[in-house]
Symmetry: C2
């Protein structure tokens, strides 16, 4: 297999390193934006040099972002090249276009590193779904926010100190919004839901609550009630469609999710035959992410041409179809209050739709509100 | 794919059920020992009816035990049929013969349900090992013993009561020896080590300590030191070879293993690129186990012919190459005592070889001794 690698940052460098040790895999070109003398003759600055070379059968995209990734990946598929990408934003945002383009051009389209980094999530989801329907998936899908929440539990520290530490350690970006506001998880949720349920949900179908406002008092309220705060992406088949959403969750101390510490991830599915199965590992990072990109290349070398699902039904979002109690800390009176939990309140069970709709309204009056599902 | 199913007990019945829902999979025969009118024309009592039918391309063996499973599976391979088996005893005991026979006859040999039941352990181990060497694996590989240990922690009950409850619930056999003495885990450890490290270890190379003698006092000693008792199978590449062993382990409260409750399993590997990855689910049971047998059939339908590893080096067991402290409760003075832990003692780090050799000798004088690695 001769590969055109689009991008050579953290993950791209890892792909280059790993591919060198594997017979049969050769990175023939690396698309770069600026001079990279250490890449020697591999480096090209014009994507057309890659697209025009018939020897290149597979393009691995690790540029990130929507543009020019989308244009490059589309052009690669039209040029008959298989595509592997680690870019969750690209796949979530252009899911319908990209799966259609891959099918129309008879090329493979794989994105295992886009959800779960080094965790073999999408390939195992695909394997389960070919034998029986997926009932639900859920999990810790973002290492940055798990690092922050875990540190807040362990040190009693407040959000801003821990975020600063995470930035110093390289676990959080200078602009951490995509992580702490839950958008990164939302993208992974869209892809996981579409593969799990064979649908075409988009980002707008997946409501999101982030952890930007979490305070030490919220962590203390969780602990006082035998719980640990995590942020989860969830997708569940309902009577009416699919409830997919992202929100902080107070999970039981002693549960598997509570034991996922530092920047680790764990994603689970539930099917009729298997019951719950969970997959734990590094959800990001140079070598874990590059590893799954290389695994995708090996699968393609081995003949894999299908996407993870062959079903692309219209989206039927149903966030009203899933319900649980919420912990809410806000100056705005919360709906259906049941108990006082520290500085906040526990509600009676609310549908995800009702809870997220209420939050959208309440945030106007109280931009500092924090809420979490209690599951 | 036309399947000859050898055996129709718990798992075999599950294979029959699941295969009926999948296009392309057809169970053409079911080998039974006694009349099974509900199977109609599928039932045969002579294995040769299956082996002689050229339409049958794959044999799924779920008889259990070594004989006649070994004879039947060998004959099937010689007749050019692919083999899928859920029988860990068969695979561990005849590993070398079976992988050689499969290669000699150009047939597929897959046994995903043999290790981890419904957990996709061997397929994910294979996937990781094709990209980078496996450094170690370890995990909770037996649901019966995890159920017992978890219940002892939760109820403070003693071993014999909990075992009786497990038997009543169908989680433990009438003769529970293979589970509680660790032999079931030993077999899974042999297969996992051979796939992980490309070696030909056999059962005799994997020393075992079971949980037959565990008492409420041992569980209390673990808890008093912030630990939870589990029984683990482990394999680790050492400077000298491979240290593979089975023993009770006091793991940290708060660790993932401590959060694995009831009869669930969790198995992990560590590789350079991925770091730790863990796989959690039902390690036994009708549908989970049958599910992985059916998945193996689908992989074979998709063209998989290789075993999980292509490397079959001579075994180099090195239980002297791994070391940790042990908790020991025995009337025989323990080696290198460091602290008193309840009715037992904590040793300084001992090699696995030294610890298991000491236990073999001490059991003569004290058949009730219990010991566990403290990791």
């Amino acid at each position: 297999m001769k590969i055109g690698l689009l991008g050579c940052g953290t993950v791209g460098g890892g792909v280059l390193d790993i591919s060198r040790s594997l017979p049969g895999l050769e990175v023939k070109y690396v698309l770069v934006r600026r001079d990279r003398p250490e890449l020697g003759a591999l480096a090209v600055t014009d994507v057309n040099a890659i697209l025009a070379d018939p020897e290149v059968d597979t393009v691995v995209e690790v540029l990130g972002g929507l543009s020019p990734s989308f244009e490059y990946v589309s052009a690669a598929m039209k040029a008959g090249k298989n595509v592997v990408t680690a870019n969750k934003h690209l796949v979530a945002h252009h899911y319908n276009d990209l799966v259609a383009l891959a099918r129309a051009n008879g090329v493979a389209f794989r994105c295992t590193p886009a959800v779960g980094g080094g965790i073999p999530w999408l390939v195992n989801l695909e394997r389960a779904a070919r034998v029986n329907p997926v009932k639900a998936f859920w999990g810790i899908m973002n290492g940055t926010t798990n690092f922050i929440l875990d540190a807040m539990h362990k040190n009693g520290a407040d959000f801003s100190e821990v975020l600063a530490e995470a930035q110093k350690l390289g676990y959080a970006e200078a602009d951490p919004s995509a992580d702490i506001d839950g958008l990164d998880i939302q993208r992974k949720c869209v892809i996981s839901a579409n593969v799990s349920f064979g649908m075409l949900l988009s980002e707008a179908d997946v409501p999101v609550l982030g952890i930007r406002n979490v305070k030490a008092a919220d962590i203390a309220a969780a602990e006082a009630h035998g719980r640990v705060c995590r942020i989860l992406g969830t997708g569940r088949k309902t009577a009416g469609g699919v409830a997919a959403y992202v929100e902080p969750a107070f999970v039981a101390a002693g549960s598997l999710e509570a034991a996922v510490d530092k920047n680790f991830n764990m994603i689970s599915f539930d099917t009729e035959y298997t019951g719950r199965e969970s997959f734990y590992g590094q959800g990001a990072g140079r070598y874990p992410t590059a590893y799954n990109a290389v695994e995708d290349c090996l699968d393609i070398m081995g003949g894999v041409r299908a996407f993870y699902t062959g079903s692309f039904d219209p989206a039927v979002p149903d966030p009203a179809g899933d319900a649980h109690p919420y912990y809410i800390r806000s100056s705005v009176p919360c709906p259906l209050p049941a108990e006082t939990w520290g500085e906040g309140a526990l509600t009676r069970p609310l549908s995800v739709k009702a809870a997220h709709d209420w939050a959208a309204g309440a945030k106007e009056a109280d931009p500092g509100l924090f809420m979490a599902g209690v599951i």
